[in-house]
């Protein structure tokens, strides 16, 4: 079994070898390590993408907008992902961002996962019918694991999820009341020795 350290190093060096700058290659190395750690096929997709890249051009999206449509060729997942990560703070207000045709979209995924950590919000990534919920770069929930190579995402969207509770207030109250049963009723003497008692705090 290859270690994650080996996976990162080989991904980084091979990315440099196909023409990415060292700084970008470092990003790819970290991403492939992350994909493999989460059980998503990073090495397979990167290898296949580089194989195809020798024969085929891909389109670069620089400034990300609400709708990103190709002019002719499929989007390069690395450039699209990297620019999404770099620009995510200014993209947040757009709520949802759509891309048309991203090649090898699983290589795009780790950038979005890292972007989730950067802005402190969960991001929902939809690649055609595949759903990935990216939780602050700590975990990934998906209906589509172990898919191997995914060579195209025809419709890719990213939704910024607001930091809101996943439950109703009455559900919280019910649990909170239960938690109160671990408390002990205080009496006058315990109250008189509590923090701040008998003193003024403005001295």
């Amino acid at each position: 079994m290859k270690s994650l350290s080996e996976i990162e190093t080989v991904s980084k060096r091979s990315s440099r070898a196909v023409g990415y700058s060292w700084g970008v290659a470092e990003e790819i190395g970290k991403n492939i390590r992350m994909l493999e750690m989460f059980g998503i096929s990073g090495i397979k997709n990167l290898n296949y993408y580089f194989r195809i890249k020798k024969k085929k051009e891909f389109e670069k999206v620089n400034l990300i907008s609400k709708k990103n449509e190709i002019t002719k060729l499929e989007f390069c997942p690395i450039v699209a992902g990297l620019n999404f990560l770099d620009q995510v703070r200014s993209l947040e207000t757009l709520k949802e961002i759509k891309f048309e045709k991203i090649a090898f979209p699983l290589l795009f995924l780790p950038f979005i996962s890292r972007a989730s950590e950067v802005i402190g919000k969960k991001l929902e990534l939809n690649i055609d019918k595949r759903l990935f919920l990216l939780n602050y770069n700590i975990s990934i929930y998906s209906n589509s694991l172990n898919e191997g190579i995914v060579d195209i995402g025809n419709t890719v969207s990213i939704k910024f999820q607001e930091n809101i509770d996943s439950f109703k207030e009455n559900e919280w109250e019910e649990l909170y009341k239960l938690s109160q049963k671990t408390f002990v009723e205080e009496n006058e003497s315990s109250r008189s020795v509590g923090a701040g008692s008998g003193l003024t705090d403005n001295d």
Binding site: S3, S5, R13, E27, N83
Partner: protein, 550 residues
């Protein structure tokens, strides 16, 4: 009194970093302190009369066991080489996590001796190999088998029976990734398991030499005197493989240097020095002179440094004994300022290391801060502005920005990875091929380029926009934001200049390992000795922490 941390512009110059010496912070010393209460055992020792076979040593505490598995092999004279291109060694080692099963040993028997072309598993933590110092080893066998102790003068001149030629960890060749073990308290502090491997290998070399001597002449042979054993360490040949490490791990480098600088600052801030502390400082200093006088090297470069160190130490001791009063307030601060004014870098850093000896309370808390969660600092804060990044460069790389890279001598070399052994190398850009495959280690040049390109952009522009047209500088943009938070993360020198001394980079790292007696064999590789003078495993329960000077 508040003392400032020393200026990174001064400390992070290669000539200064290349003058660092071992200290109480060094990894091999902190390893011994951590593991002194662990149960040491030789679990298996199955060697033939030539010393070839299998041996296993372990450290155990509660449910945790670390086992060193040693494979000693036959090696023809013409196969023995310390070069990284070697494919066979006298012995090969791995540190296994837990007690190895028979299946593990069978698996490792095939893989460990192959080193870089073998495959290890997540159950193995470190990997190494070593060669005998044949002259010394044979002399010891010959002497012991005849019932006499060997010539200590010869032994001390070399300092070891074996020297390692590489020690690998952290996921190399299938070894366990650091994330699997990083939460274990006993290995907080960098390179602790590498230190354990080397320490146990040292014991194996003594056991092996005793065994071979006994096999040769069972009736007459004696064991190597433990007093002599203690004076021997493990040698190590180190080449350029180590140099890029300190460039590629900026936050880790910062944390090592920051710990050293913090210790010095806190010691300088002590108002009244207790007698016991000043006496211990002076005792260690005086005893340490024999480490300098017994420091052998053929390197003219190092000989000069040793000569200068010895001369300066004598001047310093004279100053201390005849012109200095330790009862004055802030005595260590006064000493430090005197050193800076009167002596050279090699001696200044030597004394700085020595100042830490009396202060467990200052040094020990710093040791756990010498690791780094590097991933945390990987993302570039792309919402920052061009103006802010320029300010960082002007403040943190001021000397670097003055280097003229259009001059050949400032752009002379390039770092690359060799195809045959995947090892870092340095070559002349104007003489040799391959500079188009240069590794991203020319930080000074790329920082200068970044500064020039930033000047072409609007100050208010954000880094995400700047990156759109400057992707080739992404690696140094990341570093610049790291140095803003970690002032000691960057070497303040040009690592591709004609005058670069790569061994300064090795020396820096090795001093933190705790190596003694740096012996440069060229400007690109050197030999060192580790654990020379250290307590033997069965002496660990009760040992003097200042053993380096005893």
């Amino acid at each position: 009194m508040k003392v400032e941390l020393r200026d990174p512009d001064k400390i992070m110059k290669l000539s200064r970093l290349g003058s660092f010496h071992q200290s109480k912070l060094s990894f091999l010393r902190s390893f011994l302190r951590e593991f002194k209460d662990w149960e040491y055992k030789r679990d298996l020792f199955d060697l033939n009369k030539f010393g070839h076979g299998l041996a296993i040593y372990s450290f155990k505490k509660d449910d945790r066991v670390y086992s060193l598995i040693c494979f000693a092999n036959e090696l023809n004279e013409d196969e023995r080489s310390d070069r990284v291109i070697a494919t066979k060694w006298d012995a090969a080692f791995t540190l296994h996590d837990g007690v190895p099963s028979k299946n593990d040993i069978e698996r490792l028997k095939n893989e460990v001796p192959k080193q870089e072309v073998g495959r290890l598993s997540y159950k193995e933590l470190t990997l190494s190999r070593a060669n005998k110092s044949l002259r010394v080893f044979n002399h010891v066998v010959e002497s012991l088998s005849n019932g006499v102790q060997p010539d200590t003068e010869l032994l001390l001149k070399v300092g070891y029976l074996y020297r390692t030629t590489a020690v690998y960890g952290s996921g190399k060749f299938g070894l366990a990734d650091r994330f699997r073990i990083k939460n274990r308290e006993e290995i907080y502090g960098p390179f602790r398991l590498e230190m354990m491997l080397v320490y146990l290998v040292r014991q194996f070399t003594f056991d092996q030499v005793n065994h071979v001597a006994k096999s040769k002449n069972p009736k007459k042979a004696v064991n190597l005197d433990p007093v002599i054993c203690r004076k021997l360490g493990i040698g190590n040949s180190t080449g350029l493989g180590m140099a890029p490490f300190i460039v590629n791990h900026p936050t880790l480098l910062n944390n090592w240097i920051h710990a050293r600088e913090t210790a010095l600052k806190e010691i300088r801030e002590i108002k009244h020095i207790k007698n016991e502390h000043s006496n211990l400082f002076k005792l260690c200093l005086n005893k340490s002179i024999k480490n300098i006088t017994s420091w052998n090297t053929d390197s003219k470069y190092q000989q000069e440094k040793i000569k200068s160190l010895l001369k300066d130490i004598k001047i310093f001791i004279d100053f201390l004994e005849n012109k200095f009063d330790f009862s004055k307030e802030f005595a260590f601060d006064k000493i430090y300022l005197w050193l800076e004014k009167n002596l050279k870098e090699e001696c200044i850093e030597y004394v700085v290391s020595m100042m830490m000896e009396p202060y467990d309370d200052i040094v020990n808390p710093l040791i756990n801060k010498m690791s780094s969660e590097e991933e945390k600092y990987f993302n570039i804060p792309t919402n920052r502005t061009v103006s802010q990044l320029k300010t960082i460069l002007e403040e943190k790389y001021s000397k670097i920005l003055n280097i003229d890279f259009s001059k050949n001598e400032n752009n002379q070399n390039f770092w690359f990875i060799s195809k045959n052994k995947e090892e870092p190398r340095l070559a002349d850009r104007f003489e040799e091929n391959g500079s188009e495959l240069e590794q991203p280690l020319a930080i000074a040049r790329d920082i200068k380029k970044l500064y020039e390109n930033l000047s072409l952009h609007k100050n208010s522009s954000t880094i995400d926009r700047f990156l759109l047209s400057n992707s080739s500088l992404r690696h140094v943009i990341r570093r610049a934001f790291i140095i803003e938070e970690f002032p000691y993360s960057e070497i303040q020198d040009n690592t591709i200049s004609k005058s670069i001394m790569p061994i300064d980079m090795l020396r820096l790292k090795l001093s933190f390992f705790g190596a003694l007696k740096f012996d440069p064999r060229s400007d690109k590789w050197l030999r060192i000795c580790m654990f020379q003078g250290a307590p033997l495993p069965d002496q660990l329960k009760n040992y003097d922490d200042h053993w380096v000077y005893s």
